[in-house]
């Protein structure tokens, strides 16, 4: 394969960098590796101890990890947007800076998301997102968006490298053989045949078209993580475009710095000229102005509206004791200084442009910090915590170390990449060769659609890992003290004809009544002479022992027509003995329902049994009516019984079950004669309970609203369709390359 002189000359400039690392290079790598090692230790600390080792607490739940996350995704815009747009506009001067921009994208998109993992409490459960993922959550949008974006930017970078990889294959480096085999493998058999050239140009155009909306989407989704909450300072409609703009701003800034650094260390003055800096500088200035405009608009609106919470965040930003200087730097210096430095031709030089870019990039990191922290320090309810570390955030050494580690990895990857491939494309494409991307649609229609293979396989989610269960050992604390006083209370209960005795055993501890559990209580009835034992029961956790009386008692009633019941607790080492008794006259109660005109009534009929065993209508005692509910009894009325009758209105407005069944209880309560005697009956006059409505789809439900599912499917398949096409075409290029090679060999053989 032939290369023109210019290409060879270009390559000469890079050969030394590709073939040796150099003294400074080794020094740099060692320094970075040390930082990374330190960061790994910090990571180990966090993983083993949990996030206590960070400065984050219940109010400020996200810290610099998340600021770093936004920051790195932000600078990844350099490649996606800037190189995408410059490429599509066929800007002539773009070639030397495209690869740097695209590398920034790939490296940053690899580093950025790892900060999200760091800010997660359970790193080992990330796979839950795949198994249980809910499309309603912006985090899941983010997972889809960022992973797609990462793959897209890989493809984009790769496509732009194919020509150089082919060149490197044809011009092996002298140091390591393995590198040459990588070049060979990765160059995908590219031999610059007309067909291959056409396909490659087409692909690069296609992916730069796809990558632009994708990048915008990624940062919008990121902004929506904040925008979708109800927090002051976050819940803003302009957040998505604001983030996108801030991202391009910082991306351009980083690109300028990277250009400067490589220009310096690799002596690329011939390739990267002052013009590059000026053009990008002007782009930076315009973006800075737009960013300033968004910032102004955001804060002006908040201030003008002066909603309490918005104001609290603003106060924080404008208060010199909190964030004013930071805010001043990020919103004033970070915008105005770059604009002034670049706008005035008098100041405009490579150094000032790079300085402006550095200011912009730092200001934007600070801005991300200011987006997250002050808002979290201003919850809607007062931030009430006396623990200082809860009330305000300051990053811990772990967080700083991991931030440093991220930057170190970023630098290291970038450096290593520049040792692998020339950081500036050596094989330049003739602009005339590049196909017009508007023809793409036609092409796609004609050739590709037919050949697309749609084959999806659905994987079953991984089987959830089993938790190792451990024994719970509970120690019983034994107390050996003097027996304390105990109290027994006997109650008689007539529950719709079943007669029960309950005795509640309690004691006092620290002025609080505590129930005694698991104690033996004996129940007695008074006969003519002595009391006879009826039975025994042991107390439950509420301190109650229950005994069901037989239907017929062999003991005669006393002269008042009453039975005398008693209960006793014998006492033990801890508690003294106690006793209680109750004198009860039997009653018979009946509950019926009647309807007179529109009035629905509950009728209670109650008689007592006198000493002779005859029934006598009850006179004067008050009957109370209840409806039993989950936790307790709802009183619906009370009525003195006259001539054995008491009537009250049925509580028709009270909800019953699905048909309106409402159990009613009529009761004599703590009555001197009858104890607790009650009768119950159920009537379907209550309000029927409407059937439970289970909403299946919604933001807060298990399944996402359909439009969301469709949008996601459409977006993802659109993007992935193009990615698949790209990969497919790469293989085609490879195939064509093999054919071309054979032809070449054949022709050289005939010669």
């Amino acid at each position: 394969m032939e290369y023109n002189n210019k290409t060879i000359k270009n390559y000469e400039d890079f050969k030394p960098q590709l073939e040796s690392i150099g003294r400074y290079g080794y020094f740099f790598i060692t320094a970075m590796v040390m930082i990374i090692a330190w960061g790994t230790y910090a990571l180990y600390t966090q993983l083993s101890k949990g996030q206590v080792v960070t400065g984050m607490r219940d109010y400020v739940i996200w810290g610099i990890y998340d600021a770093n996350f936004i920051f790195f995704i932000g600078i990844s815009y350099a490649g996606a947007l800037i190189s995408g747009i410059l490429h599509l506009m066929r800007v002539e001067w773009r070639h030397p800076i495209l690869r740097m921009a695209e590398t920034i994208t790939v490296v940053s998109t690899m580093i950025g998301p790892s900060y999200i993992f760091l800010s997660m409490g359970r790193l080992e459960r990330v796979w839950h997102i795949l198994v249980y993922g809910r499309i309603q959550s912006p985090i899941v949008w983010d997972v889809f968006a960022i992973s797609t974006y990462l793959i897209g930017s890989f493809i984009f970078l790769y496509l732009a490298c194919v020509r150089d990889l082919a060149f490197m294959r044809d011009h092996p480096v002298g140091v390591a053989k393995w590198r040459n085999s990588i070049y060979k493998f990765m160059s995908a058999g590219y031999r610059d045949t007309p067909k291959q050239r056409e396909l490659l140009n087409q692909l690069i155009d296609l992916i730069s078209i796809v990558i632009i909306p994708l990048a915008i989407l990624v940062h919008s989704v990121l902004a929506w993580i904040f925008g979708m909450t109800l927090r002051p300072g976050w819940h803003s409609t302009i957040f998505a475009p604001y983030f996108v703009l801030a991202a391009i701003y910082s991306g351009t800034g980083v690109l300028i710095i990277v250009m400067f650094v490589f220009r310096k260390i690799y002596h690329l003055e011939a390739h990267i000229t002052k013009n590059h800096f000026t053009y990008l500088g002007i782009l930076l200035m315009i973006l800075g102005a737009l960013y300033g405009y968004f910032t102004f608009s955001e804060y002006l609106t908040n201030w003008y509206g002066s909603v309490k919470w918005d104001m609290e965040v603003l106060y924080r930003l404008f208060d010199t004791s909190t964030y004013w200087w930071w805010f001043f730097f990020s919103a004033f210096i970070g915008v105005l200084l770059p604009i002034i430095l670049i706008a005035m031709p008098r100041f405009r030089s490579i150094k000032t442009i790079v300085f402006a870019a550095m200011i912009a990039v730092t200001a934007l990191w600070v801005k991300r910090y200011l987006i997250i922290i002050p808002t979290l320090e201003t919850p809607l309810l007062p931030l009430h915590d006396v623990r200082p570390e809860f009330a305000s955030y300051s990053p811990s050494w772990v967080e700083w170390s991991l931030t440093a580690m991220g930057i170190a990895i970023w630098l290291l990857l970038f450096f290593l990449f520049s040792k692998f491939l020339p950081i500036i494309p050596v094989v330049r494409v003739n602009s005339a060769d590049e196909r017009d991307y508007f023809k793409l649609r036609k092409l796609a229609k004609e050739r590709i659609l037919r050949r697309m293979i749609s084959k999806t396989r659905r994987d079953k989610g991984p089987v959830a890992g089993m938790l190792i269960l451990l024994f719970l050992t509970s120690a019983l604390v034994c107390r050996a003290e003097d027996p304390v006083h105990s109290r027994l209370k006997l109650e008689f209960l007539n529950k719709s004809g079943t007669h029960l005795l309950t005795a509640k055993l309690t004691s006092k501890k620290d002025d609080q009544t505590i129930p005694l559990e698991g104690m033996q209580v004996s129940f007695f009835i008074q006969g003519v002479k002595d009391k006879t034992l009826l039975g025994k029961g042991s107390t439950d956790e509420a301190g109650k022992a229950t005994f069901t009386l037989p239907d017929k008692l062999d003991v005669p009633r006393n002269k008042d027509g009453k039975y005398l019941y008693s209960a006793s607790f014998e006492g033990n080492k801890e508690y003294q003995s106690s006793e209680s008794s109750a004198e009860i006259r039997d009653v018979f109660m009946k509950l019926t329902f009647s309807q007179k005109d529109s009035a629905k009534l509950i009728n209670l009929f109650a008689v007592e049994i006198n000493e002779k065993g005859d029934s006598v209508p009850i006179e004067g005692s008050t009957a109370i009516f209840y409806v039993p509910r989950t936790f307790s009894y709802l009183k619906i009325g009370e009525q003195p019984v006259k001539g054995g009758h008491a009537d009250i209105d049925f509580p028709v407005t009270l909800p019953g079950d699905s048909v309106g069944n409402l159990p009613i209880i009529a009761k004599f309560e703590d009555n001197d004669n009858y104890g607790n005697s009650e009768v119950s009956a159920t009537m379907a006059w209550g309000k029927p309970l409407p059937p439970m409505v289970i909403i299946k789809r919604g933001l807060g439900d298990t399944n996402a609203p359909l439009w969301m599912v469709y949008t996601l499917i459409v977006l993802l398949s659109l993007v992935w369709f193009h990615f698949t096409y790209a990969i497919f075409t790469i293989f085609r290029i490879r195939h064509l390359g093999k054919a071309a090679l054979q032809e070449e060999n054949a022709s050289s053989a005939t010669k």
Partner: protein, 317 residues
């Protein structure tokens, strides 16, 4: 409802009596959640271990266990035909914090983890401050549930918002989304024991808490299944919390049982920051005719905490 004190004694009696009958458990349909052999249910011979609220392990036959905390899918659905609500009577609160103590001992939480928070709110400079205890509001349009990426926090048909500690990935997005600061994070190891062997984790008990996951007030669905009130309700000495099933139109604070609709209508109940559209399941009764001066609430606090409260409420003295 306005003369709480005069009717108090009567209600107290009722509470005891009601408790007594509830335990017998042979009562009406509504009490069928009460466990125990008397409550019916077939013996299956299969035993399940239950952790009682005081931390002891009891063994019950599975047939009786319709009151066991639900696990798995069932725990995500909710108790059928219920809709739990709470009404907090601000007029009775004196910042005694007994509810928090009850909550912490019931959930075996260390003192530093607080699922109920206390604020001294003051709506404007001319009005008087009042104590504002705040559990999770169990919002009916819960922002926290919407944003969870893995469905580890979910809304149930009975109105309760729960957290599945086995599923939570600790992204804390729900904490950012909750406008009421209701969620707390287990930054370090919360120091709770592991589950006893053979017992399945139930989100209904919110126990054990795990490092790196969120926790919050859970409205005690495990207690509801047993027909028992949450611990905050029963430990409040002033009867501030009323809890109950909206579908039964009844709430109770353990001693008083009242109709929910009457209570919220007659006492002009409101939901905190209704304007956020979160539709909380917790209602507040305005702090009118208060039982205590707000200063009573300072009694058991540390000086620095009093200062903080005063600062928040703009109290200068």
């Amino acid at each position: 409802m306005n003369d709480n004190n005069s009717s108090r004694r009567k209600f107290l009696k009722l509470g005891l009596a009601a408790g007594a009958t509830a335990l017998i458990g042979a009562g009406g349909k509504a009490l069928s959640a009460v466990s125990g052999p008397e409550a019916g249910g077939k013996e299956t011979g299969e035993k399940v271990k239950l952790l009682s609220p005081d931390g002891t392990l009891v063994e019950v036959d599975k047939g009786h266990c319709h009151s066991c905390p639900a696990t798995g899918k069932e725990a995500r659905q909710g108790i059928p035909n219920k809709k739990m609500v709470m009404v907090v009577d601000l007029a009775r609160c004196r910042n005694a914090r007994k509810c928090l103590e009850g909550c912490q001992s019931m959930h075996h939480l260390p003192p530093k983890i607080e699922w109920i928070k206390f604020f001294l709110l003051r709506d404007s400079k001319d009005t008087s401050p009042y104590w504002f205890p705040k559990p999770c509001f169990q919002c009916n349009n819960p922002p926290c549930v919407k944003v969870c990426p893995v469905g580890a926090t979910f809304k149930r048909t009975d109105g309760i918002v729960l957290i599945d500690n086995d599923r939570c990935i600790g992204c804390k997005f729900c904490m950012a989304a909750c406008p009421y600061s209701s969620r707390v994070f287990n930054w370090g190891n919360p120091g709770q024991d592991a589950l006893p062997e053979g017992k399945k984790y139930s989100p209904e008990t919110s126990w054990p808490q795990k490092v790196g996951t969120v926790g919050k007030c859970d409205f005690c669905p495990d207690m509801v299944r047993q027909g028992k009130l949450p611990s905050c309700v029963t430990s409040c000495p002033n009867g501030v919390y009323f809890y109950g099933d909206k579908n039964e139109d009844t709430v109770t604070n353990g001693t008083e049982t009242v109709r929910f609709s009457e209570l919220v209508q007659q006492r002009a109940a409101y939901r905190y920051m209704e304007e956020l559209g979160t539709e909380p399941g917790v209602y507040y009764l305005p702090p009118v005719n208060r039982l205590f001066d707000y200063k009573v609430g300072f009694q058991e606090l540390k000086p620095e905490e009093i200062d903080l409260y005063k600062k928040e409420a703009n109290l200068s003295e």
